[in-house]
């Protein structure tokens, strides 16, 4: 947006007045920050904007929208948080754990809606998934892992040993691995882990699983998703079926994925933002998880990785990748 300094001061003053007299039409503003930019997080951000547009909040009608990315740097995330607190928007949307923590540490008053945080309780953003009573609420992208285990069973009914490749430095992945470690034995299966601290390690980590596992399951680990092709190569060469958690990976060679659509997650987040803009206190809104899951299957990849998908599974899919 193009503002002269005096106009900025003016709007700054307006924002202050806006907080004193809530409900002034046209003074509403939403500030969005993300730790990095990548396809899933960008889709989420666009979803938020779409929900706002559909709800009648557009820049033409006076909504002030701003987006800042920390470019992967936590110190910049902290500075963005301070800038937002100074700008006094009506709602701050914080995407991914480090950005959300920086914002929550910087303000106890401005409403904060987090998004794409797998475990908001462990990240101390909220005490529980119930209404927090504070200025924080949001949408988690955690997956109900029971459903993931069901999918593994449907794709590879004989699977006993499940391999996972993940980055030990990614909070979201560590949460999933920890839960899987407890969940799989209950289903008569065991977990075999292989870590990849960098994207270039993904292929080697997958190769280390050859002969030790019947199927490889991956979560939305940023390293793994970035280098999914190297996983596909191992899966095809060694005839190990691959199951992912994001639908895009199915197009790249996974057999199946039951995943959150990040654009829909953004819309869900945006609806929450609208509730707060309309006057609801964030502390009265419970944290949400995704209500929509999509199943993508890839029969061609299944054949290459040595399994045949049941017709029932193919029929239940949201999309069949040819």
């Amino acid at each position: 947006m193009k503002f002269s300094t005096s106009a900025k001061l003016f709007f700054g003053a307006m924002a202050v007045m806006g907080t004193l007299a809530p409900g002034i039409a046209g003074a509403q503003s939403v500030a969005v920050t993300s730790i990095v930019e990548h396809p899933a997080l960008d889709a989420l951000k666009d979803g938020v904007k779409q929900a706002l547009t559909e709800g009648g909040y557009t820049e033409d009608k006076g909504l002030k929208w701003q987006f800042q990315t920390a470019q992967g740097n936590t110190a910049i995330a902290a500075q963005i948080a301070r800038k937002f607190v100074g700008d006094q928007p009506d709602v701050i949307v914080a995407i991914a754990t480090p950005s959300a923590q920086a914002v929550v540490a910087a303000t106890k008053t401005i409403p904060v809606v987090y998004a794409a945080v797998t475990d908001p309780v462990a990240a101390q953003l909220v005490k529980s998934m119930e209404p927090s009573g504070t200025n924080v609420t949001g949408v988690s992208d955690s997956l109900a892992l029971e459903k993931q285990v069901e999918l593994i069973k449907k794709v590879v009914p004989a699977a006993k040993r499940v391999g996972m490749v993940y980055n030990p430095g990614e909070a979201n992945s560590v949460v999933v691995v920890k839960q899987m470690r407890e969940l799989l034995p209950k289903n008569g299966m065991s977990l075999v882990e292989a870590t990849a601290a960098r994207t270039v390690d993904v292929g080697a980590a997958a190769r280390s699983l050859v002969g030790k596992v019947d199927v490889i399951y991956t979560n939305t680990d940023n390293n793994v998703v970035s280098a999914y092709e190297s996983l596909v190569k191992v899966g095809t060469d060694a005839k190990i079926p691959l199951i992912a958690s994001d639908t895009d990976s199915v197009k790249r060679g996974a057999i199946a994925a039951l995943g959150v659509n990040y654009h829909d997650l953004g819309i869900q987040t945006g609806k929450m933002v609208i509730k707060i803009l309309k006057g609801q206190a964030p502390g009265t809104l419970a944290s949400e998880t995704s209500d929509k899951l999509e199943l993508y299957v890839n029969p061609g990849a299944a054949q290459k990785q040595g399994v045949t998908l049941s017709d029932a599974l193919i029929k239940s899919a949201t999309q069949v990748v040819k």
């Binding site: 947006m1 193009k2 503002f3 700054g12 930019e37 701003q66 987006f67 800042q68 990315t69 470019q71 992967g72 740097n73 936590t74 110190a75 910049i76 995330a77 902290a78 500075q79 963005i80 948080a81 301070r82 800038k83 607190v85 100074g86 700008d87 754990t97 480090p98 923590q101 920086a102 929550v104 540490a105 910087a106 462990a122 990240a123 101390q124 953003l125 030990p168 430095g169 990614e170 909070a171 560590v174 601290a197």
Partner: protein, 297 residues
Amino acid sequence: MSIYSLWGALEIGLIFGLVALGVLISFRILRFPDLTVDGSFPLGGAVAATLISAGMDPFTSTLVATLAGAFAGSITGWLNVKLKIMDLLASILMMIALYSINLRIMGRPNVPLISDPTVFTVLQPEGLSDYIARPMILLVLVVVVKFALDWYFATQTGLAMRATGSNPRMARSQGVATGRAVLAGMAISNALCALGGALFAQSQGGADISMGIGTIVIGLAAVIVGESIMPSRKMMIATLAVIIGAVLYRFFIALALNIDFIGLQAQDLNLVTAVLVTIALVIPLVRKRLRGKTGGR
């Protein structure tokens, strides 16, 4: 730019001022290209956050974090001095080792401190907002550290360390134990970085394994910006200059975050920061040239 942005830039700038002092010791005084910093900064954060969330009081936790940094730095020094591994490689080895060590210490990639006591919440005077109190507390601490370093580098061991950096052969011929000087210098340097990391974690709501990425780059930028705006061979001015450099660097980022005209977008942030720093570095040169002309050579 809002007042919050400015206080925030000062706060984070002062924290990186500690890192800049550490980098000044390794790169400038010892002439040891030390990348350990990228590991010792999150090491400080990891140790402090883990201990605090385990219930230890924040001051002891911060002290232990600082000592952990000193230990890491002395291992880098030891790899170089005793095992004769090239300085840059020794620091790279220590940096990558610390990634795993930090994960081990934290037990997970992210340890939040949002609801725990920190040195800032304990020291915060009543009636002063936290966004002002934190930079004030940091200012006092950084000034104390600066004068402590100034004092140290005027003592015999401090002077021996400076001699080791500028001319090791001469220093040895004067009876300086150069190996020990390198070890001590690296320990002090990385202790300061870890202290910075410990305070960063406490002011930003927690430690994250990714918090070390690019620390050395920011530290070096602070040192170079500081040196070019306040060039001096005096230790007292050099330490002041790098702190100012670190704070200035954060102000440039705050400024870049507020530049939203001529079609610049969020992803242009690093580019804008780079351009602003370049301008800051060129100004003294331009001024010198102009002065040279009016002086009538």
